[in-house]
């Protein structure tokens, strides 16, 4: 499978462990990624908060570049990016005037494509049967709490993926690898997202509740498919423990870490040795 690849800023910044993980894991599954040449930032929360036009134009420029570079499908592993790309595509699909205006604004013709995929969808594309057959190390000791956060499933009118309140797509994948996902209550609660710098206490409180709920339901790790969720739950876990006066010690894995481990890839291959909270698996 060949996919266009929009890494977004986080995966080329402090979440470079996520990029390492998904490249190693997808490479082992014969999925090749072609990075969009000269991609730019999607604008993230800052653009949609301060300037509506930018929030459409910045993702639109990337959609146009991907189309021009011949990609029918494109992986955007950061849910913030993928939601922004999908929202821009949706706004322009129903409004030809807007599409013409934005095309002029971004100096590139914006067409209908490419189709934007999140990481879970790429594994679905590969197929659960193929994943199962590729397992070399069944993850029988792993009891993950699959954590979706906000933008993989919300707003459903934009992302149109899984169930917005009770998603199960990640559970299906980790179960196929031999892990035993736990039932828990905070799958789609917010971790505090981009407030890490400006309102740290918000992140400590929201992410703390997520870790506490996962622990209370018997999870021995969390699985995420979002760089911001990983930063807040992994990098900030020490600060959260201090804030709440408790100890979690829960490793936070990207979905590609979990698949990669089952495929027999090492911590060094996947970059899980660069996480803040280290698990027994590495």
């Amino acid at each position: 499978m060949n996919l266009g690849y929009y890494p977004g800023c986080a995966l080329h910044g402090s979440s470079n462990d996520y990029e390492q993980s998904l490249r190693a894991c997808l490479g082992a599954l014969d999925v090749t990624l072609a990075e969009i040449d000269d991609w730019i930032c999607c604008g993230a929360t800052s653009a949609h908060s301060l300037n509506h036009k930018l929030a459409i134009a910045l993702p639109a420029r990337n959609l146009a570049l991907a189309h021009r570079q011949g990609h029918a499908e494109m992986l955007a592993p950061c849910p913030m990016c993928s939601m922004q790309l999908l929202r821009a595509a949706q706004a322009m699909a129903s409004d030809h005037g807007l599409r013409a205006e934005i095309s002029e604004m971004v100096e590139a013709e914006v067409n209908s494509g490419p189709r934007v995929l999140n990481l879970i969808q790429v594994f679905q594309h590969v197929g659960l049967d193929k994943l199962k057959a590729a397992v070399r190390t069944p993850l029988k000791d792993l009891k993950p709490a699959c954590y979706y956060g906000c933008l993989l499933v919300r707003p459903p009118t934009v992302v149109d993926f899984d169930d917005a309140e009770q998603p199960t797509s990640m559970e299906a994948i980790v179960a196929a690898l031999g892990a035993k996902p736990v039932e828990w209550s905070y799958k789609t609660e917010c971790c505090g997202a981009g407030m890490t710098m400006s309102k740290t206490e918000t992140v400590l409180e929201l992410s703390g509740r997520i870790l506490a709920n996962a622990a209370a339901h018997g999870a021995n790790c969390l699985v995420v498919a979002c760089p911001m969720c990983h930063v807040n739950l992994d990098m900030k876990q020490g600060a959260i423990e201090e804030f709440l006066g408790t100890k979690f010690g829960l490793p936070i894995y990207y979905l590609s870490d979990i698949v990669g481990m089952a495929l027999g890839l090492s911590a060094g291959d996947l970059g899980t040795d660069r996480h803040f909270v280290l698990g027994g698996q590495n």
Binding site: K53, M197, F276
Partner: protein, 155 residues
């Protein structure tokens, strides 16, 4: 999030229905909102509250009417966009420096200035710190997109 807000989304929508946009624009809650999209997803009347929050933030920013108590968040969003306008892609170190500098000029808080300093060596050890950062090649087009969108970095 609503539990922490001075004016939660439901009351903000009511204020707007009643025509009191000025109170809505001054609300701290529009900057406390984390854009989790839960309100828009669950509203039984299908009101896109999250989009209304975005519109209120943009108007409050452009008119300089944002709640003084939430200035840090406004400054962060501005520092982020200024960074993208310059580089095309986010430079994390530059963003943190610019944001902390802007906050310090306003409130002179030394603890805030140095609060995350201890993280740098821990990120460095994990090869997660990029001192130079990345830039898009065609930064001219990025600057023109920002200009055409009317983003001036006001306030």
């Amino acid at each position: 999030m609503a539990a922490h807000m001075d004016i939660p989304p439901s009351r903000l929508m009511r204020l707007l229905q009643l025509g009191d946009g000025a109170s809505a624009l001054r609300a701290g809650s529009i900057w406390q909102c984390v854009s989790c999209q839960t309100c828009a997803t669950r509203c039984p009347k299908k009101v896109d509250c999250a989009a209304v929050m975005d519109a209120l933030r943009q108007l409050a920013f452009e008119r300089g009417a944002a709640s003084p108590g939430e200035r840090r968040t406004v400054l962060f969003q501005r520092a982020f966009l200024d960074n993208i306008r310059r580089n095309g892609r986010l430079n994390e170190i530059e963003l943190i420096g610019a944001f902390k500098g802007m906050v310090f000029l306003r409130d002179r808080s030394l603890p805030f200035l140095f609060r995350d300093a201890g993280l740098a060596p821990r990120l460095q050890k994990r090869r997660k710190l990029h001192l130079l950062g990345e830039k898009a090649r065609d930064r001219g087009v990025v600057a023109r997109i920002f200009a055409r969108a009317g983003y001036g970095g006001a306030q």
